[in-house]
Symmetry: C2
Subunit: 463 residues, 2 copies
């Protein structure tokens, strides 16, 4: 960025523009651990300032990279071509919680858990639950279409976005959608913006759907001798027509990883585990939990534990919740992929991953949201060994090919960003890329917003 651009931005924002190396460094990383230094960091206070930043960017042609809390795993908030990181952290007000019409209106910088807690106070529930919810912001969740554990029953972020206010790449401030469940007046610009990773518009306000808070929940932990058994249990649960609110599968690799660091008492021979939860009226959760337990036992569970009180449920969640902290001790670098396969292919996917780890001589730790087929594949490497790094990269590509081959998707909830952009065409084809690029140019003709994301970058022509 040239001095003139920085000067114009400074005029607009005053001390809400930061250019010190210290601040820029803080905003140069995200959960991918990759690093790209921005030229400046802007902290707009309202939608009009966002709009004026984007107009300036169009005039001076510098990149604007919107950022929530920087917890993303695909590099969505990294300024890969420099420019201004636009942090939404000063736009962090909950503007309304309408308990009669069941929606909330928020600014983008509200932390996900803050909204969940506030609506809980009036007996309501905002379901999306990305693992980062204590830090991540709603604006970031919407931009990436964040998922989580309860998606199998409640859906993902896109299912809760009723209306948006956003500044497009052109600088236009648009309002999309309606506050009601139904609404078909013109094209669905709301869902066009959801999951567009900050490349089409910057969200400045969102109206989110709320649902009644379930009155009770029961948790089960079922321990199996292998993945084929737990996958059979998942299918038996689906066949019993019960929809759990969580259905988490832990592979042997994940269990071993936890046991090596933060051990949990498990029956001899546990090689796979299912963490299940049902919620709703107390009368139906008890009965549904019975059906789940039966499905697990008839699929060969070694043991099924069960709890309905908060303390007991916390205890059962321990194994699942310990995976991430345990993983940090296995390798310095974690390549964290979030592929999704049709649920019936889960066991095949886990078999493939075991074989792949052996062939590529890398540690792969697998767990996932079995209810929706979403597998978190964590390739753990030291980071120092170049050959290991190459083998890990090859493994990632093989995972994506296998996923697409099984009719799945290369990203269920993290987004494409820079991490998956080389593989996007594998899934959507050259025509899909071409249509998406045309869409991009109609929202952001000058390529101001979050350049270098989603689409594979063309190699620079040799001079």
């Amino acid at each position: 960025m040239d001095t003139r651009s920085l000067f114009a931005l400074g005029e607009l924002l005053g001390n809400r523009l930061q250019t010190s190396l210290e601040t820029r460094t803080c905003y140069s990383i995200d959960a991918t651990r990759k690093k790209f230094l921005p030229d400046a960091v802007a902290f707009p206070a309202n939608a009009d300032e966002v709009r004026r930043i984007v107009l300036l960017a169009n005039e001076h042609r510098f990149p604007v990279v919107p950022r929530g809390a920087g917890t993303g795993f695909s590099g969505g908030s990294l300024p890969v071509h420099g420019g201004v990181v636009l942090s939404t952290e000063r736009m962090d007000r909950i503007l309304a919680i309408d308990a009669e019409n069941l929606y909330a209106v928020v600014e983008p910088g509200v932390v996900t858990e803050t909204l969940k807690e506030e609506v809980r106070k009036v007996g309501l529930f905002y379901p999306p639950d990305p693992a980062s919810l204590k830090f991540s912001t709603l604006g970031g969740n919407i931009a990436e279409c964040a998922g989580g554990m309860c998606a199998v029953k409640y859906g993902v972020t896109r299912d809760y976005v009723l209306a948006l206010e956003a500044v497009l790449g052109t600088g236009e401030l648009v309002r999309t959608g309606v506050v009601t469940m139904k609404g078909v007046a013109g094209y669905d610009l709301t869902r066009m913006l959801v999951g567009s990773e900050g490349t089409l518009g910057i969200i400045t306000k969102a109206t989110l759907k709320l649902v009644p808070l379930p009155e009770s929940a029961t948790t089960l932990l079922a321990l199996f001798p292998g993945n084929r058994h737990s996958a059979a249990a998942v299918n038996a649960i689906v066949a019993a027509r019960v929809t759990p609110s969580a259905m988490e599968l832990m592979d042997r690799t994940a269990i071993d990883c936890v046991q090596a660091t933060i051990p949990v008492e498990l029956p001899e021979g546990t090689r796979s585990a299912l963490l299940l939860e049902v919620d709703g009226p107390a009368s139906s959760t008890a009965r549904e939990a019975d059906l789940l337990a039966e499905a697990c036992r008839s699929s060969g569970a070694l043991e099924v534990r069960r709890a309905s009180d908060e303390k007991g449920r916390d205890e059962l969640w321990k194994l699942r919740r310990s995976i991430s902290p345990a993983l940090r001790r296995v390798g310095a670098v974690k390549m964290n992929e979030d592929v999704v396969v049709p649920r019936s292919r889960l066991a095949d996917m886990f078999d493939f991953l075991a074989d792949l780890a052996a062939r590529k001589r890398v540690t792969i730790v697998n767990f996932g949201h079995a209810g929706d087929g979403n597998v978190h594949v964590n390739i753990m490497i030291s980071g120092a060994d170049k050959d290991e790094y190459r083998r890990a990269e090859e493994a990632v590509e093989e995972v994506f090919r296998a996923t697409v081959g099984m009719g799945g998707t290369i990203t269920g909830e993290h987004g494409v960003g820079i991490v998956k952009s080389p593989y996007l065409e594998m899934e959507v084809g050259p025509m899909g890329i071409s249509v998406m690029k045309r869409l991009k140019s109609c929202f952001d003709p000058n390529g101001i917003l979050n350049p270098g994301k989603i689409f594979p970058e063309e190699e620079a022509a040799p001079a």
Copy 2:
């Protein structure tokens, strides 16, 4: 259309192109009773034929107007600028019902009820239930984003579309989305196509999400002295954190209309009625029905009837189901609007409509999906009286203004088509129209697909 175009289409389609006046007349109308004669009607057998028709249309510049069963209320399938009506009725196969992964793959011409019945046989449920479901096709439902009565609990068509195959206005055959619940690889082209009213692409295949069939249902009919009482009951139900699978409100106008033609026994002084339904596990529906009955009684219900067996439930539905047949006897022309207001404004909306009917001296019959705030406003006119027609048109515009003023939408489930295009800007603003037009040009640069819909047509310049 010129002879060369018709000849080229005939070469491609053989007897799957019809140009007789009789066939063209059959395909010149829809549920709006407006009439526009196409130049020809095409009955493609597969996606490749659809693609080749659109390529020819781009070459010869004739309009292609996709059509399901022609049950739409907004004129979406009318060839207002002539050209070819493309009927999907020969693409009517259910290609797969995957009971393990809970989805179905269908061609666009499958009748909605056919799919509902087929999946019911394996214990599954495809929830969207537009009133036309015995005739309307899934392709048409997707193009219009059809709603229905169970939207309050289950959502609308868009919530069930996982993946699409479609021919864009450019002639490109694209595949969008994935068969899994989660998937964020690139922009959400699937939801861009849903509700786009055949103006961006022609759907040639759809993957639809299925859910477990609820094991039981209980129906209640609550009769009230006025709309303020039934609206209070709706709010009490929401406050009780129960989500019924149907919550239908009938205004005095609708009740009188039924009583005048197909009378149902009602308590003296009934001026408003709520038809409620809860579904799910038998244990919870019984308890939820108790809560609903209590909410109705404490809001002043004159009587609450209840049934859980099929015969008894059918009996309770009679009042609601008789509205449409009864309406046909009131006036020759029905202007059927489908506005939505936030649920808390329902009583205000009904008051406004009563006042409007008196001021404009027209009969307005109102009923609706109270759970989601969707009100069907039926302005009944003889059709012969020009002044009455003018007053009715003025009333329609007032209804839309009031709706937008209450924070609602001018169309909840019928779409914009030609009927609401003059009013779209009232809701989305000039900037919304401008963004949507840019989107249109990127999917259909030559304006081949369904011209004259959604966007207000510019007046022809005087010669």
